[in-house]
Symmetry: C2
Subunit: 209 residues, 2 copies
DNA sequence: GAAGAAACGGAATGGAATGTCAGTTTCGGA
DNA sequence: TCCGAAACTGACATTCCATTCCGTTTCTTC
C-alpha cells in the first residue's frame, strides 16, 4: 500500500486540487464577465480542460457558483476574524483604533483582489435565492457590529440611549457604500478618505459644536 | 383631416399609450422575476398582446430594460425634487427636519411600490453596463447630499472641518443600507426606526457625551 | 363602403448554452 | 510490462429564447 497522508490517496488529493482550481477559475470568470455571461465552457477553457470534465466535479452551474460564494465569504470572515473580539476593547480610544483597523483590513481585502467586491455585487443578480443570500449576508453583519456597540454602551463609552440595532445597520450601510465606491475607484487614497469620513460621522456627528 | 391635439393623431396617442403599457408590464415582470428570468413572451402575455408586437415598440430586450430603468429613476428624482432646495434651510433644526422629511418621502416611495427597490437592486446583475449605471446613480447622489452639507458648513450650523464629499458618501451609504433592509422587511415601523437611527448617528455621533 | 396602409400575432428561425455519453487516455498496482 | 479502473474529452442532443417574417386583422381616409 502506498503512503497516505491524512487518509487521502494521491488521487484524492489531486481531485481536491482540481476542484479548488475549478472554483478559482469560476471565481475569476464570474467576477470578470458576470454570472450569466459566463458559460461552463469559459471556465473549462481557462483551465485548459474539456468542459465535460467540469461535470465530474460539480453538478451544474448553480452548484459551482454556490461553492464560489461560500469560498469567498469564508475568506472574508477569516480575514476579519483575525481581528480582536468585541470585548477586547474598553475605552472610546480603543474602539476608535479598532474601527480604524477593521476599516484598513476591509480596504486591503478588496484592494488586493477587486474581483471579490465585483463578485459579491454581481451575485445579487444571479437569481432570487442568491439575492436573498447576499441580503442575508449584509443583515448578518448587523449583530456583529451590534455586539461592539452593545459592549461600548455597557462600559459607558458609547451613548446610553443608542438604538444598537439601528445604529449597527447605519454603520454597516456606510461600509457598504464605501465598498461600492471601491468598485468604481479602488484607489487606497479614496478608500482612506471615505473611511475617515465614516469615522468622523460616527464619533463626532456632523453638527457644529 | 381629423382633430389633432398637440400635433398627435389618435393613432400616435394610442401608440404612446401602448408603449407606456409595455414599459409598465416589463417593469413588473423584471421586478418580480428578475431580468434574466423574464422572457419577452412574459411581458407580452401580461398585456395580452402577441410577443411579435413587442418588437414594433422596442428594439430588443436590452432596449426595454433601458427604458424601464430610465422611467424608474425619473419617478424617484421627481418625487425627491418636490422637496426643498439645499439653500431653503438655515438652521440645524431646519436641516434636521428636512432630513426627516426626505427620509419619509423615500420610505413612502419604496413602501408604496416595493417593486422599485427590487428592480433597482436586480438591475445590478443585468450586465456590466447596467451595473455601472446603477453605481453611477449611487455616486450621483453624493453631490446632492453634498450640496446640503456644504450649505450647512457655509452657514455655520455644520462642523467647519467636515469632509463634505466623504461625509455625503457615508450618509448615502446609510440610506442605501436602509433601502436594502426594506427589501427584506418593508414594515414602516422598521424603516422609521432605521431612519431615526441614521439621524441619531448623523447629528449626535455614537460617543457618550 | 372600398382600398390602401399600418398594426398585429404567433409560427418559424437561428443561435447559444447546458448537460450527456461513448470512445480514448492516463494511472496505479502487480 | 501489462491490465483494469478511473478520469477525461468534445461531439451531440436538447432546450430555451430572442428575434424575424409574413399572412391576417384593424384602422383611416376618401
Amino acid at each position: 500500500m502506498t503512503a497516505e497522508v491524512a487518509g487521502l490517496s494521491r488521487l484524492e488529493r489531486r481531485k481536491a486540487e482540481t476542484r479548488a482550481e475549478i472554483i478559482d477559475a469560476a471565481f475569476t470568470c464570474f467576477a470578470e464577465q458576470g454570472y450569466h455571461a459566463t458559460g461552463i465552457a469559459d471556465i473549462a477553457a481557462r483551465l485548459g480542460i474539456g468542459h465535460g470534465t467540469f461535470y465530474r466535479y460539480f453538478e451544474n452551474k448553480r452548484d459551482i457558483v454556490e461553492h464560489v460564494v461560500d469560498d469567498l465569504i469564508g475568506r472574508i470572515v477569516e480575514a476579519l476574524g483575525a481581528d480582536n473580539a468585541p470585548d477586547a476593547v474598553s475605552t472610546l480610544e480603543d474602539y476608535r483604533a479598532q474601527t480604524e483597523r477593521i476599516g484598513t483590513v476591509l480596504a486591503r481585502i478588496f484592494d488586493e483582489d477587486p474581483r471579490m467586491a465585483q463578485l459579491l455585487v454581481s451575485a445579487i443578480g444571479i437569481d432570487d435565492a442568491m439575492r436573498d443570500r447576499m441580503l442575508e449576508l449584509f443583515e448578518a453583519t448587523t449583530p456583529i457590529t451590534g455586539a461592539y456597540l452593545a459592549h461600548g454602551v455597557r462600559l459607558g463609552y458609547l451613548r446610553a440611549d443608542l438604538d444598537v440595532e439601528a445604529t449597527a445597520f447605519a454603520i454597516n450601510g456606510m461600509i457598504l457604500g464605501s465598498l461600492l465606491a471601491a468598485l468604481r475607484d479602488p484607489s487606497p487614497e479614496r478608500q482612506a478618505r471615505l473611511s475617515a469620513g465614516i469615522r468622523a460621522v460616527m464619533y463626532d456627528g456632523i453638527a457644529a459644536r
